[in-house]
Symmetry: C2
Subunit: 249 residues, 2 copies
């Protein structure tokens, strides 16, 4: 039985991530959230606030993956160029979205003209865009399969949550792991054998060190929970035959 | 005066990052470290342990950027395919590196044959590769402008540190920031004006909320510290003229 795969690309847009100033956490959050719905993040790119980088990255990603999620660059300042780049990537105009503009106007009644104008930049979306709800402020938007979310983690999470149940999903990938107090190399041959027997499961091996000593965490990922259980048992047996302790996590 | 720019691409190789299981921290570490030497990270990609994804990503990145730093996939197990992919990207053979093989043999005298064989996988490097020192274990390697580092953060840092002073560097980018208790939109027009006056400086605007209320952090980045100081003063004046407090951080 072949699993139904729906995959996605995440585009993290922002100089502050590439400069090392800010630790990105959005990729992990998106991967976990959409993963729980049955969408697999297959690639991510971190790109600067530069049109000539964003436009081709969006074009490539939207053609290659079922979904694209972007984060960052949708605020009211000069460095917020994501909406304009998405419009360009789709070859459509950037237009004022009536719903967003009304929302901003209703919340800006005491604001000076210049401030209102800046806020209204957040209403400029590609022609034909749909909205991504955001309880706390201006919505994000989507065009075709590209979903444009905020960069601020709490706002990004709110926007992403609002998409639950609205996207096409595939078979969910489950994972299970075994904590084995052996070095990677002592079980490498056996693991390679297990992996070649089960190409439908992804077996990852990650060394660690904790109070119990050196060890290797084996993570199995696949769409069939019973297959994962069986593999975990076989990995525990493999570890014991190499003289190490192993427990399911 | 035009700044001398040396740029880099970071390739994070690993299913565990894309699945959301592991929070990557290597990108930020690499950006900060090489940034302090005068190398700018201009793009990053997170890709799975799949040859058909790694090889084209390496080819594109090595052609486009001065340096490429990869992390992950250089251990002894079946999922460690980075070295083979780098060889393929350069069109060279994967061969046993004598120096690494000797080191592994000298540390594996009591190991069973099968374990030694697995460890020796870590000696397989692209023909002509140079070594990246690693005080705690088998070295990383480089081919031309592509530097192949471990995925484990502490090991990655050791390998990267060993490159200090060995790479070509450009003008260092400095940063300075102003913490302003105003909304982004109230200073957006003024900031846009400052940015257009100084295209050589990157002005970023990042909203925050703390015990003092809502605010915006303005980060200026450029190669001339005196220009950054001047911009910070002008941003503070802009904030005060919008009725907010602002302080240099």
């Amino acid at each position: 039985m072949t699993a139904k795969v729906v995959n996605a690309c995440v585009l993290i847009i922002g100089n502050e991530i590439l400069s090392g100033r800010t630790q990105d956490t959005n990729l992990r959050d998106i991967a976990n959230t959409v993963g729980s719905w049955g969408i697999r993040v297959a690639e991510a790119r971190v790109i600067p606030d530069i049109e000539s980088m964003i436009v081709p990255a969006v074009r490539e990603a939207k053609a290659k993956y079922d979904y694209v999620f972007t984060t960052g660059g949708i605020g009211p300042t000069h460095d917020d160029i994501t909406a304009a780049c998405i419009a360009k990537a789709f070859g459509v105009s950037l237009v004022e979205n009536e719903a967003i503009a009304s929302l901003i106007r209703s919340r800006s009644q005491d604001a000076p003209r210049e401030v209102l104008d800046s806020r209204l930049r957040m209403a400029m979306t590609p022609e034909g865009a749909g909205l991504v709800e955001n309880p706390g402020g201006p919505p994000g938007f989507f065009v075709d399969n590209v979903y444009v979310l905020a960069g601020i983690p709490s706002v990004m999470r709110n926007m992403l949550s609002s998409l639950e149940g609205k996207l096409e999903t595939g078979d969910r990938v489950f994972s299970a792991s075994v904590k084995a107090y052996v070095t990677e190399s002592s079980i490498a041959a056996g693991l390679g054998q297990l992996q070649s027997e089960r190409p439908d499961v992804d077996i990852g091996s990650y060394p660690f060190r904790d109070e119990g000593g050196y060890g290797t965490r084996l993570v199995v990922r696949g769409t069939d929970q019973s297959v994962l259980d069986d593999l975990c048992n076989r990995i525990r047996a493999l570890t014991r035959s190499s003289g190490g302790e192993a427990s399911r996590e």
